[in-house]
Amino acid sequence: MGMTLTEKILAVHAGTDQVKPGDLINARVDIALGNDITAPIAIEEFKKSGALTVFDKDRVILVPDHFVPNKDIKSAMQAKILRDFAKEQGLTYFFDAGEMGVEHALLPEKGLVLPGDLVIGADSHTCTYGGLGAFATGVGSTDLAAAMVTGEVWLKVPESIKIVFSGTLRPWVEGKDLILYTIGKIGVDGALYMAMEFTGPIIETLPMAGRLTIANMAIEAGAKNGIISPDTITRDYVEQRAVRDYTFFSSDPDAGYAQVLEFNVNDIEPQVAFPHLPENTRGISEVGQIIIDQVVIGSCTNGRIEDLRTAAKIIKGHAVAKGTRLIVIPATPYVYRTALKEGLFDIFLDAGAVISPPTCGPCLGGHMGVLAKGEKAVATTNRNFVGRMGHPESEVYLASPAVAAASAVLGLIGGPDQL
């Protein structure tokens, strides 16, 4: 039987011709990634292992994006562990404040993760790179430590679910809505331990930003990885930036799938995920009247330049509603500079928004916009768990940049058509 592209990438990295779901393999990793929350534990484990140097200083990447610029003394101490280790090991890719961006936006942008790669990251949204046609999955700090030593990871080959999108997209419907809709259909454990392979005519024409957004949230359905077959859109994106060679894999016509889901996007309107799970989705027309205190546009899900452009287009000429705070967080220095050059910051500032430096910030309730008890926020992020953005009695509604921008102007959850 043929193999899926996930299986092909795993087979190549395990040094074998064929793998099948359920096989336990030891695979070579192309990139091992850590951040300021997960890497300190990994570094401690690395040191205890007796290893002296990382397996490859070009392939261990550290990005202190969660709490840097250091938000308090404890997080300063954690970030320092990364700084010292990066220096001591001579890591090629350590991104400190100034160069630092949200890791999963930064690595594709810098051409550090590429089609056909096997990437592990001690961060659950490492699955983002599946948008480029890589096998990428989140692991824990101990796995990262092991990979830093050996350049390998143990993995169970996942079964694959194929998700096919066809039809015609409605206005303002984008990658975020497609993935929220999918999670709404299958639930937060709908793809537990599995690979989600996204395909169909809609995916084939979807820009890279939307593909990365979709793969980013595969973990929100419990998946091991999300993946999209690389094509000319992928080539256009990686060609200019790739720091290494890369390989395009695609699924065989007779590859085996545990399940095939087909969605007609004609039926999909902009989506909002209600508290406190990403599966609690509703179409924008069914949201009702929900007054909001804060809007966050940013994160590894939707903090790219395309997202800021969409938001600016909607906000232009409007003001943020009284009683609502809009926080815009460009995900990387490149996004920041581009938005500045294109005049997007003027639009946001004129409307009364706050512009934050690149950081995860409020996405995980860290800093730069933490919610108080009882407050409600619309966010372009990926999780709306209890207490995710601050107080355990605050609420997060997940949506696209278009819906978030419109909501900021309206002061309640709504779509661009309501402006």
């Binding site: 997960t38 205890k48 007796g50 659950s124 824990g140 101990t142 937060v188 973990i219 207490g387 995710r388």
Partner: protein, 166 residues
């Protein structure tokens, strides 16, 4: 290997933000993390729990982030094992890599807070000490048993390094 303890029961989709909220992730000190274990699901949990107690949950325990702080907090709080119908993937591997025993059991809806259980990890059998009922768990794959036997992933690798240097 065996354990026994009192059950603390939770529902579906207990995510890593409930297990250890991100606001406490500016440290990885187990004692600190233990103080806030399960705080947003049950604010008094850390005070009530005693050594060798057992967390029992329904589906998809540990969903959300990759933070190893979650199994660390649970382990440091004194929990001897977690039993759920299913676990989120990263939590599952983290638990094995760190030596927190976890078991998948389809019948956790029959268990409640306050029940006393004894668990035999070799046979995968759970016994309810009050009723005498027994419950089966999914066998742990051989490869992961080996991981546990070497005392977690890093010990496994340490041994490899030592062998190479010898």
């Amino acid at each position: 290997m065996k354990t026994s303890g009192k059950v603390w029961k939770f529902g579906d989709d207990i995510d890593t933000d409930l297990i250890i909220p991100a606001r406490y992730l500016n440290t990885s000190d187990p004692e600190e993390l233990a103080k806030h274990c399960m705080e947003d699901a049950d604010p008094k949990f850390a005070d009530k729990v005693s050594e060798s107690d057992i967390i029992v949950a329904e589906n998809n325990f540990g969903c959300g982030s990759s933070r190893e702080h979650a199994p660390i907090a649970i382990k440091a709080a004194g929990i001897s094992c977690v039993i759920a119908k299913s676990f989120a993937r990263i939590f599952y591997r983290n638990a094995f890599n760190m030596g927190l025993p976890i078991l998948e059991c389809n019948e956790t809806d029959q268990l409640n807070t306050g029940d006393s259980l004894s668990v035999d990890f070799d046979t995968g059998m759970i016994t309810h000490q009050q009723t005498g009922n027994t419950y089966k768990t999914k066998p742990i794959p051989v490869f992961m048993q080996e991981l546990i036997q070497s005392g977690g992933l890093m010990n496994h690798i340490r041994k490899k390094i030592q062998n190479n240097q010898a």
